[in-house]
Amino acid sequence: MDPRKIKFLVTGCVVAGAMVALFAVSLNQPGSAYYITVSEFVQGRTQGDNFRINGKVVEKSVERQGGSADLAFKMTDGTSVLPVRYHGVVPDTFTDTCDVVVEGEMGSGGVFAAHTLLAKCPSKYESAAAAGATHPTGS
């Protein structure tokens, strides 16, 4: 084989290898997110002190306090129901019966204290072809 070709192949492989290596290293750092369902959380099958729970907002369960950044609602996966409270900016996509992902920990009185709230509403959003169908808020 032409030595020049080998030189190029080796360089290409080094770059590609570096990309793969960085990818693999990054995957092992926190940042990926398991979603657990409301039932899995309520039944306490998962360990840890920070959870990401996926479910739907129970209709007419949303309570907002005018003037403050507090929000309370209930979420469900169809079998279990979990009361959630959240403090912070609520995305406009958050509505009754929309799909939410909350991240946080169990607080006092059986209420889940969320520090992050993501809302996805594919049905209402189907037209937003390329921008922010979900967006993170909170810290």
């Binding site: 070709k5 190029f8 960085l22 990054s26 403050s68 950044a69 072809a129 921008a131």
Partner: protein
């Protein structure tokens, strides 16, 4: 009546597209002129028919015919006229119709422009474009008919208020122009393989199409980001969301293609690679549409349940396997006519650029589709967060930016050490000095420093190119510097247009790096009217609140004044709106952009935004919570987008020399064929 005409027009369009495909393929095989012409007429007819359907749907939207389900879902009686028009692309069926219409328009344009040219390619181009039309026509007739009728409600549901924004009116069509625009180079590429005309004719012919599609994709992405920034109220413009990634991936591979075709044109290299890239780009464009339409990422199970997913899945599989199969079949025709000489050369820098662009696209693809694979493998839906996307891609973007300063300047074939020193030593020194200055001024994070180093470096090399070129002209033609510069650019529009785009990208990079690394956030809760809030050298006074009643909604408007060093900068009036039709309130943020600095100390604040989010407000007492974000440099991103558009326009202006080149290549081909015969 009009609805009925629209429905039948769509049905007929599928048939004409089918004939366009069959006749085109038969013409490609037999070489019959009659069949080519027949296929061409079919493409004209398809355009007329799809246009009829689009007009029928627009007519239904404008005349409030809620018997049409799509109209009932996306419009209502008092919806403002512009939003009635744009409702055409605010729902699924309508936006697919728009897709199909743009495709039929592009097919028509491509066919008419090349009516008397590219005789061997055109039958196959027509067949491929018609084939894509058949798929979209089929989906529109059988899966999501835009003109399906039902029992008319008294009034429609109306468009989601979040979408009622001028930027959202133009964002989807722009993006679709990009997605569909890619279909033309793809069709020419496939035609080149099918007809075994694998030289650079197809690439030269579709150069403007490629650039146009690339520009539309990029602009569409930026418009979407801008809409998210001003409308969604979270203070950011990019979150590696699947729908964003869906449009970003084809942009990445299209950018790679844009660069690698230069190697095929100049050096007759990378023929296979270019074919792979055009296949990849078009497949990703279809995949993007599939990803946003099928719901596959929410859950694999949602995919099989939804109407569109399986159809797109099958089409995508046929597309990818078919075109790659064709490529493998034609591999013997695609030998490179040149070889690589040195690692330190323009060829190498382009290859590295391609490798990285495709690598990033692949990484984004894997991360975006991770929920699918993880759910298939373990039954758990694991999605990848923003930090992982950033960690995986940012180092490579850094390399790409540095390359954008190297590639245009470094010599073809083999660059000597001396020429490297001439071209790069100056910019490297200036960039290092700027980076050292920034570090001394307190910039400590590594990535921003590296990004600013690379940005200054690229500015230096690219401006150096303008400077050297103009000086060289000046020396021979005894012109003034500005005349020389103007003529230089005008005579080499493609080259210097490309440089301007590189500068635009650098502006974007400065904006992105600055606004992500130095964003600051402040919150105030339960603030009474009359309170002042101090942050970051600014003072925000919450003066009063008032209620505004509009036909569509009721707003609580918070009047605030932004001052700095005692000078009033702006009155900011964020709003919380509640709509009659939709149960959740929406947030209207207020943004103050610092374009010109008021003092020397504020120089680093040029392009900075003060982004005021009304978190909540009590409409009686006016008790409110605010969040303020200071987003430095963010306006450089939008400015970079505008510069990109200008640079791209310069690069596609008609060029005498280029036309001569294309004519020459076509002539050569004719001669070769004559010689063979």
């Amino acid at each position: 009546m009009i609805v009925l005409i629209g429905q039948y027009a769509l049905l007929l369009a599928v048939l004409t597209a089918l004939w366009g495909m069959v006749a085109g393929a038969l013409a490609g095989i037999s070489g019959s002129d009659g069949l080519v012409a027949s296929s061409r007429r079919a493409i004209c007819a398809t355009f007329a028919l799809v246009t009829t359907t689009v007009l029928a749907l627009e007519h239904s939207l404008l005349t409030d015919q809620f018997g049409v389900l799509y109209v009932a879902q996306n419009s209502h009686r008092t919806q403002p006229i512009p939003y009635k028009i744009s409702a055409l692309w605010s729902g699924q069926a309508g936006s697919l119709l728009l897709w199909a219409w743009i495709l039929s328009l592009f097919a028509l344009a491509a066919v008419l422009i090349n009516r008397r040219r590219n005789r061997p390619l055109m039958p196959w181009v027509q067949a491929v474009l018609s084939g894509i039309q058949v798929f979209f026509g089929y989906v529109l007739v059988l899966v999501t008919p835009p003109l399906a009728v039902g029992i008319a409600p008294a009034d429609g549901v109306g468009m989601n208020p979040l979408l009622q924004n001028y930027w959202m009116m133009i964002h989807p069509p722009t993006l679709y122009l990009g997605y569909v625009g890619v279909a033309v180079p793809f069709a020419f590429g496939m035609a080149a393989l099918l007809s075994r005309q694998t030289g650079d004719v197809w690439i030269r012919t579709t150069r403007r199409w490629t650039i146009f599609a690339w520009l539309c994709l990029g602009t569409g992405i930026l418009l979407g980001s801008y809409w998210a920034y001003i409308e969604l109220g979270w203070g950011g413009y990019w979150a590696w969301d699947p729908v964003e990634n869906a449009s970003f991936m084809p942009w990445l591979t299209a950018t790679a293609f844009l660069h690698s075709v230069i190697l095929q044109e100049q050096k007759r290299m990378l023929k296979v690679w270019n074919a792979v890239l055009v296949i990849l780009t078009f497949s990703l464009a279809i995949f993007g549409t599939f990803l946003t339409r099928s719901g596959v990422l929410n859950s694999v199970h949602a995919f099989t349940g939804s109407g569109l997913g399986p159809h797109f899945g099958v089409f995508l599989a046929v597309l990818v396997l078919g075109s790659l199969g064709l490529l493998i079949w034609r591999l013997p025709d695609l030998r490179s006519e040149h070889r690589l000489d040195s690692l330190i050369s323009r060829e190498s820098s382009f290859l590295l650029n391609n490798l990285i662009f495709v690598g990033i696209a692949f990484a984004v693809f894997v991360l975006t589709t991770w929920p699918i694979w993880s759910e298939l493998a373990t039954g758990r839906n694991v999605s990848m967060g923003v930090p992982i996307f950033n960690r995986v891609t940012i180092p490579w973007f850094l390399v790409l930016i540095a390359l954008s300063g190297v590639g245009p300047v470094i010599a073809w074939r083999r660059a000597s050490l001396r020429s490297l020193k001439n071209a790069f030593l100056g910019p490297v020194i200036i960039a290092a000095a700027v980076a050292a200055g920034l570090a001394a001024a307190g910039v400590r994070q590594v990535y921003p420093l590296l990004f600013y180093f690379c940005s200054v470096f690229v500015f230096g090399t690219v401006l150096g190119e303008f400077w050297r070129g103009a000086r060289a002209r000046q020396a021979t033609a005894s012109e003034s510097f500005s005349t020389a510069l103007g003529r230089l650019v005008w005579r080499n529009k493609r080259r210097y247009g490309g440089y301007v785009v590189h500068l635009g990208i650098i502006l974007c990079v400065i904006g992105i790096a600055g606004s992500s690394a130095y964003k600051r956030e402040f919150t105030w809760e339960s603030v009474r009217p009359g309170t002042t809030m101090d942050f970051d050298g600014f003072r925000l006074t919450y003066d009063r609140h008032r209620i505004e009643t509009m036909p569509e909604h009721q707003s609580v408007v918070m009047e605030t004044t932004l001052t700095r060093n005692g000078r009033t900068l702006a009155v900011m009036t964020p709003e919380r709106r509640s709509f009659q039709r939709v149960d959740n309130p929406t947030t209207e943020v207020a943004i103050y952009s610092m374009i010109l600095p008021r003092s020397v100390r504020d120089l680093a604040r040029v392009g900075e935004d003060v982004y005021l989010v009304p978190v909540s407000v009590d409409e009686r007492s006016g008790l409110a919570s605010f969040k303020v974000m200071v987003n430095p440099f963010v306006n450089w991103l939008w400015l970079g987008g505008v510069v990109n558009i200008l640079g791209t326009l310069l690069a596609v202006l008609p060029d005498r020399r280029e036309r001569a080149m294309l004519a020459l290549t076509l002539e050569e081909n004719e001669e070769n064929k004559a010689a063979v015969a």
